[in-house]
Symmetry: D2
Subunit: 393 residues, 4 copies
């Protein structure tokens, strides 16, 4: 973007979208943390602001003064290069700063970033890249705000709704019969191409050899997953990875997260407790469950390279916007991967162990955020994201 006006418009739009997500919530809702993996909404609001303050204002602003010295530690997520950080499991104990102070923090940083962008973003490519990264980062936290709020509200026995039940719960579910689309083998290019934004983990673009394979034309539905449950899928160890079997037994897991069975199956949604929509894609499952389902159905999960290669084929529906799709690929650097210099290099690379790649995007992903080369990643047991299944064979 060469035009400073576009910068400020884009910046304002993304930052406002974050605040809009907090709109239906009380200050109390915004402060609580339901588990160490999740963060309070207030923390997300402050951390995304800290990101702009730390990686842009501190570098570019003449006579930089932090909004509040303590925030450098309080809202540092995991950047050792920036210094100390508040312990993650204790984010919900930060009743101060208040929501009002965090709003003021956002407003202050917004004004300063906007001023900076107006003066320099059109001419300083490095600044422009950091601004873009900050906004993409903000969008990632927009998705986390929704998944974390959902998890928090689900802990409340009163099952409060984030949005009014009247609203349409989700995009139209997949109704078509599942089919298989064939893809030829050979050497293909994988990774981000072109000069539009991508994260460092999508680079470099590189060659992979793929054997011929089939991809399912649609996502696995709740009805199909329910058939797996009713066929005893959670009681048959031969379907499960050994660690997955231990995990479901130790945790007492018998269905996707948020499903409940009281005579009928319901599930907790952002609109409250609702009847299970049978034609909707199954979500909130772990890699272990996705793998067991695939095994049971006689198929397998795709690799991330297969998914990406197939992504632009028109025969495949719902690749984006419904749920992140587990792949069998562990999260690893692409050949020749180079993280950025300095603390910003901690963004992605240091998490490349014991995590699995998910592809696509979900109903919680901001429009325009994802793309075919996008690599989301979570541990094999994570379920609080909108995660689902597309089969391969």
């Amino acid at each position: 973007m060469r035009d400073a006006g576009l910068w400020s418009e884009r910046y304002a739009q993304v930052r406002a979208a974050t605040m809009a997500l907090a709109e239906p919530l009380s200050d109390e809702d915004c402060g609580a943390q339901s588990m160490p993996d999740a963060s309070p909404v207030k923390w997300h609001l402050a951390h995304t602001t800290w990101f702009f303050e730390t990686f842009i204002l501190e570098r570019y602003e003449t006579g930089f003064q932090p909004f509040h010295p303590a925030f450098r530690v309080l809202f540092n997520s995991y950047y050792n290069g920036v210094g100390d950080k508040h312990p993650r499991p204790q984010r919900g104990l930060l009743t101060r700063p208040s929501m009002a102070e965090v709003r003021a923090y956002r407003a202050n940083v917004d004004a300063r970033v906007t001023a900076l962008a107006a003066r320099h973003a059109a001419t300083d490519a490095r600044l422009a890249a950091l601004l873009t990264l900050g906004l993409q980062h903000e969008q990632q936290h927009q998705e986390l705000i929704l998944t974390d709020v959902k998890h928090l509200l689900a802990q409340n026995p009163m099952a409060p709704a984030y949005l009014p039940p009247g609203a349409a719960a989700a995009a139209a579910p997949a109704k078509a019969m599942p089919g298989w689309q064939r893809f030829e083998g050979g050497v293909h290019n994988i990774g981000h191409a072109g000069d539009s934004f991508c994260f460092d983990n999508e680079l470099p673009r590189h060659k992979v050899y793929l054997a011929p394979y089939d991809m399912s034309t649609r996502l696995v539905t709740n009805a199909e997953y329910l058939a797996f449950i009713e066929a005893g899928g959670y009681r048959d160890p031969s379907l499960w990875l050994a660690e997955g079997w231990d995990w479901i037994r130790t945790q007492g897991i018998e269905a996707p997260m948020y499903w409940r069975h009281d005579g009928v199956w319901t599930c907790f949604t952002l609109h409250g407790q609702q009847a299970l929509e049978m034609d909707a894609p199954v979500t909130h499952i772990s890699l272990f469950e996705a793998d067991a389902y695939a095994h049971w159905s006689g198929a397998r999960l795709p690799t991330e390279a297969e998914w990406e290669h197939a992504a632009r084929d028109a025969a495949l529906t719902d690749m984006f916007g419904h749920c992140w799709q587990w792949t069998s690929s562990s999260y690893a650097p692409y050949p020749g991967f180079r993280p950025a210099e300095g603390a910003i290099g901690e963004y992605n690379g240091k998490f490349m162990v014991n995590q699995y790649v998910l592809r696509g995007s979900s109903i919680a992903t901001p429009t325009g955020h994802a793309r075919a080369s996008y690599r989301n990643f979570f541990p094999a047991g994570a379920r609080w994201q909108f995660t689902g299944i597309r089969l391969a064979r």
Copy 2:
């Protein structure tokens, strides 16, 4: 109290005192739970209301309807006789009901209890006893609100103050030289006497035989406790109970809770981080630490019977209003102890194992709440209460 007007005045005064404690706090402050042992202020406000609703309105009100059916579970602390209860470690996740709803809950129950008391309390002794118990229970939670808020704010690296630093931190500290007051042995009566209110665990009054003993005329001060630290008290296993030694080593404990050493000693108080007042009584220590200090100083902790027998002697200062004083007595039923019938009988009796008795009262105890026969109790490792030391020998 025979006069219904006095009932409503007393009730209103105690209930208002609870709300006044929440005055300096935001809704966010009131929602957070810093550890499983502590509860959010909002939960205290609701639970004390639940107590009146459950044990008075539900029994006495014609056509009783609960304010909200879910509250029966959400705000039940530990009464199995009432039914299910929300898991204690998850009280901080109850962002709903909101503080506003809890205020409305209090107002609603207050109106109904007041109406009931006006009609019947003067003539129905059982109702009067339950009202009294409810108010005594409320006062116990007033103290817990202060200890729990202090613990929560102490987790925040910004060390926010509950009260303005200008306010006088505490009652005048003990400046006198310590001395010993002699008490004769023999058979003495212990336990509550008379027909004023007491908890069931203070009864029945009964005989105990005491050997002659000395009690210190004042509490151990911060200066004295600091001398113990500086003499290596936390590094000498011969001073400690075996379980206490394991506990300080495993937890990395080297000083009372809330003490910090950065060149000088400071401690976190309800007024924020402050210089350590050397003449003030040491507080926020465990039984393990109290016992080790006593051992080091060549003395011992008193038994609860010794403390109670000595309590009315004018030579002893600061028996009440500064800190709860650990005794060497495990919390056990008095001979002939009988808890009340039904769920209310769970109030005290079921905790009589692996806890130790504290006597006196603290700066956080409401005026008029404690008495010589009062038995407070906590596990040997508890430190977040205002706990201190009076020596015996």
Copy 3:
């Protein structure tokens, strides 16, 4: 004992009795540790020898040289005054020294102690006292060898027997109808009297005031305890201490340790898996279970003072030799208690917190070891000792 010959006879007899307990066991049996609370038999054999080496030979032997320098640490149980100690949960990993080496260690120390005793025990009262303490200590470990072996063999799905099944399983069980024996109240003397041996925790003899009370004339039987189970005792929270209720729920406890129900009730014994003897005293229960049973039966557990005062009354049967009887008394120092100087003072005193006193003795206690003033102690959840119930009211 003034006669050196008697010393060596007594010493040889006690030491041989320990070795006899290991007779039915393989070296493999002797090396394993089934839980941190229990120790391998080999460790017991070595530790009791370490006790004589450390507290007698090291002090009295001219030119003392340790049998093996490493043993000072390996076989130190908990004496901080002696120096470092091997971590308790890792005692089962000490495959070296071998059983053969430990036998040699015993033989070596036995010869040296015997020589020392022959020369000095008749004239050196302090040495005589240490010899006596060492032998009493050895007898305590004789009981632990049996309880620890029983626990180890019970972990084996093949349920191997320590002793041949043909042998009489236990002394004749209590068949009489239970009755109550009345004891008058008043000031009584408690604690060891006379100049025969006792442990330091039995002193000083002191006065206590007892209200009048009744003691059951016999122990609670398996049949009676089974009635408690069948009446739903393990499912009714109103019978349990709060911590006990949490404990049985968390641990999934529904019956005494070693009981198994497969259509019929059996229990694991030192003679292998056997039918439950209905008239035998119930054993292997925690204080929590003893207390819940007492509550259910309308009675209570005695205090240790009540038990001791009653102990010599002929109406009470089975006070000794069947099972240790839980009391409601937490383990605390008697008024004026003084542990010995130096490391030996760690024998008892430092455990006086969060433990409960048991009185009597069990089928595993060596003959002549216990007495009316003897104070055994374990945490409220301990079950692997031969622990049972005598009721009071």
Copy 4:
């Protein structure tokens, strides 16, 4: 092998090699389990026998009777398809069966398998395949016996040696200067080729695309790794995967397993505590440490495909026989992977999550067991195997 005589010779040789490993050990040594990941030697001896009994005798022997019915459960490692299994962390509590009984078990099964092989192995290809698998399985446990014994003896403060210190500790260490060998990119074939034995996880042979890369001509030495330590490698978070950094901090890890620093560096070996051999390959490190070292040295770990493609190049030394070499590849099925039908299919496939592939072989691997396509695998934090580093870039 078409010749029954060769079968019995091969079988006898492999089985005897296992017993020879137990030769320097006492029965006590053979019974202990130092951690859940490791098993007692006795258990290894019995489990490998169970493997032949379950997967060969039970299928092929007419009128099959198990040696002991309980062994089916006791010595089942992880085959859910066979039935229940004894809990892994409790293998060290199985003092029965004794070592003598396990020897008898081995002898009994050996005789029966040998008889069966003599009659049918030359003509029954499926039996021959199972026999081969059983022997390969036995060899894997030969390596585990050494690593598990080493871990056990290392827990003993006396640091006992498995082998006499006089024996040569290891094969000649790598003394050459490290260099880089270049490999061209392109599509290469990976996986086992030919009809000699391989495990199912080495199949099917398949194409991969590799970018050009360099492999180090030798392994990283202790001296090189020590330079990393002395340069502060364990204190610089920028070198570590985030999970690795948490792991070293939580576990207090500052050097490879078995290294000790008391003025000089020594390490525990199968020959006891020895001076650190500076030119020997570093071993007993986790993937986290291997990755951090690679990062620090400006290189990276190879992928498993790179390693396998390079394996036959003569420029690379010490590919086999010194230490298993961590790769950056997570353990995953090859395209088209099919485990065997039935319980034997649990051998490899179900572990393909959260584990990383190691290539090569170690000083503990039986001669002839490994090959270029061999895939060993362990979790990223495992250190008790002989694991080391070969760099790539």
